[in-house]
């Protein structure tokens, strides 16, 4: 069967988009790689679905109206005349290819942690901040006994307070930026102030120290993490004084990178976001530059769950209108989107990544974890005449491994002094050659 709309991504943006479009009378399929709806923000354990808040409301709005295809990982999207074909791998261990077709496509693929390399960052016990949060929210596993939380951005606070609340000894939160004047510049809504205050109180209650202008610049241990080097930073993130902090776990993240593989495959125009990383360009109705393709949530710029949900609602309505359904104008929703976008952009400006992190690297520091490319080999390739990250990749292989540069691509671009480029990955998920050759079955 052919759907009016296929939504890719079951987080706040995708759920809201699917619900809005289905309420307007469209036949909607919602595709997600995970075992249940929610994405990263609404991640919850198998046995404890949230009963209050926005998730149950969104889920109720989706349920019965849209076809939910969980455990469907999209590896490529193609145009087929008037339709868009979403090619998935369904299942987990016994995955099989399946294709879902729609007249319109909404991309709500979210974001993942932005990582910076530093000595020892591939030691077991070093996790991304999002990874530690996913363990806690999805599996109810506290990532370690004594945990350091580090990096930059407002996300470090819920991670640290969640871990402390779950019984971990959080040795400290190390926020690389100094955050002077942030409240004045970002002008947060009262609800956001209350949320931040809640985290701060939780940290206070558990006596977790918060250090602004400091970072973890090295991780140490033999077969696993035993301690980290923490540095006080100057404005450009160059280390001033250092000290050692013992810990068995480090949760580290420097903001987020939107997942843009699919919109780039389709040729959707991108632009540099406020933080320099590419985002999908959309109009006020969340239409991308490619007819029939829409984007909502982090793909259009990292802005958090509230903004993602609003964009999803707007996108779902736009799709309905574009397919000839009547939808009443929603000026309040559009205003809310503008306000939340302004707030998100102010936060991105308040939590930049400064160049000084490059000075944390030693020649042996792995830049690419998959291909085990040390910083020295990146410099060597540059000396051999590789002038941009593409040439570096061909000569020294960073970004050629399993993750296809998702983890190191940002850092490699920065090391080459260039702006991060939109990803060119014709295959967004690993697929067996046999599956690639087979004709997939239609879903459902």
């Amino acid at each position: 069967m052919t759907y009016d709309l296929v939504v890719i991504g079951g987080g706040p943006a995708g759920m809201a988009g699917a619900a809005a479009a289905a309420l307007a009378g469209l036949r909607v399929a919602l595709v997600d790689g995970g075992p249940r709806l929610g994405g990263q923000y609404f991640r919850h354990p198998h046995s404890a679905e949230p009963l209050r808040g926005r998730f149950p409301r969104l889920r109720a709005a989706v349920a019965g109206r849209a076809t939910v295809l969980a455990r469907h990982r999209v590896w490529t999207v193609q145009r087929e005349d008037d339709l868009l074909a979403v090619h998935c791998l369904a299942g987990e261990r016994d995955e099989r290819p399946r294709t879902v077709r729609g007249r319109r496509l909404l991309i709500a693929t979210g974001a993942h942690d932005r990582s910076l390399p530093f000595p020892g960052w591939d030691l077991p016990g070093v996790l991304t901040a999002g990874g530690a949060q996913a363990l806690l929210k999805g599996d109810r596993v506290v990532a370690g006994r004594r945990i350091v939380v580090a990096g930059t951005g407002p996300f470090l606070l819920p991670v640290a307070s969640g871990l402390a609340g779950a019984g971990a000894d959080v040795a400290g939160v190390y926020e690389a930026n100094r955050l002077t004047g942030i409240a004045r510049r970002a002008r947060p809504a009262p609800a956001k102030v209350a949320e931040a205050t809640g985290y701060a109180l939780e940290l206070l209650r558990h006596r977790v120290p918060f250090h602004a202008g400091q970072a973890v610049i090295a991780a140490h241990g033999d077969t696993g993490l035993t301690h980290v080097t923490v540095a006080r930073l100057d404005r450009d993130w160059r280390p001033l004084a250092t000290r050692t902090v013992e810990c068995d776990t480090l949760a580290v993240g420097y903001g987020f990178l939107p997942q843009l593989d699919l919109p780039v495959q389709l040729g959707c125009a991108t632009r540099p976001g406020v933080d320099g990383s590419p985002v999908v360009e959309v109009d006020a109705g969340l239409r991308t530059s490619v007819p029939g393709v829409y984007a909502a949530g982090e793909a259009t710029g990292v802005g958090g769950a509230d903004l993602a949900e609003v964009e999803g609602l707007l996108a779902g309505r736009t799709v309905a209108m574009d397919l000839g359904r009547t939808a009443r104008p929603a000026p309040a929703l559009a205003r809310r989107r503008r306000r939340l976008t302004a707030f998100a952009e102010a936060l991105l400006r308040a939590y930049p990544v400064r160049d000084g992190w490059r000075g944390w690297l030693s020649p042996g520091t792995l830049v690419c974890r998959c291909e085990e490319v040390p910083y020295a080999r990146v410099l060597e390739a540059r000396d051999l005449g590789a002038l941009d990250s593409r040439a570096i990749k061909l000569l020294a292989r960073p970004g050629m491994g399993w993750c296809q540069g998702r983890v190191c691509g940002y850092a490699v671009a920065c090391l080459m002094g260039e702006a991060p480029q939109p990803p060119r990955r014709p295959i967004a998920q690993p697929i067996r050659l046999g599956d690639l050759a087979d004709q997939p079955e239609e879903t459902p």
């Binding site: 046995s47 987990e92 077991p124 991304t128 990874g131 363990l135 990532a143 696993g224 974890r369 998702r406």
Partner: protein
């Protein structure tokens, strides 16, 4: 809250407790097993890093099937996980 089934999986032959719905990566990490493969060149130990299916550091062999992402693969009763 739904009833939460508890069961065991094995890691290199030893028993590891698991709860229904947990990923293999979460089960191992919770049991203090933080590394289950070594890298091709440097023989460096690797386990969970991104935790959400992006980095592929946590690749694992389950019941003989290689290269599964531990953080994306739900643990099932009796799973035999082997390090590599």
């Amino acid at each position: 809250m739904k009833h939460e089934t508890e069961f065991e999986i094995s890691f290199d032959g030893g028993p590891v407790p698991a709860r229904q719905g947990q990923t293999i990566g979460a089960v191992l990490h919770a049991a203090g097993i933080r590394s289950w493969r070594t890298t091709r060149f440097g023989g460096r130990p690797r386990g969970l890093f991104c935790g959400i299916g992006v980095c592929f550091d946590c690749l694992v062999t389950v019941n003989g099937t290689p290269s599964l992402r531990a953080c994306q693969t739900e643990a099932l009763p009796g799973d035999e996980v082997t390090s590599g």
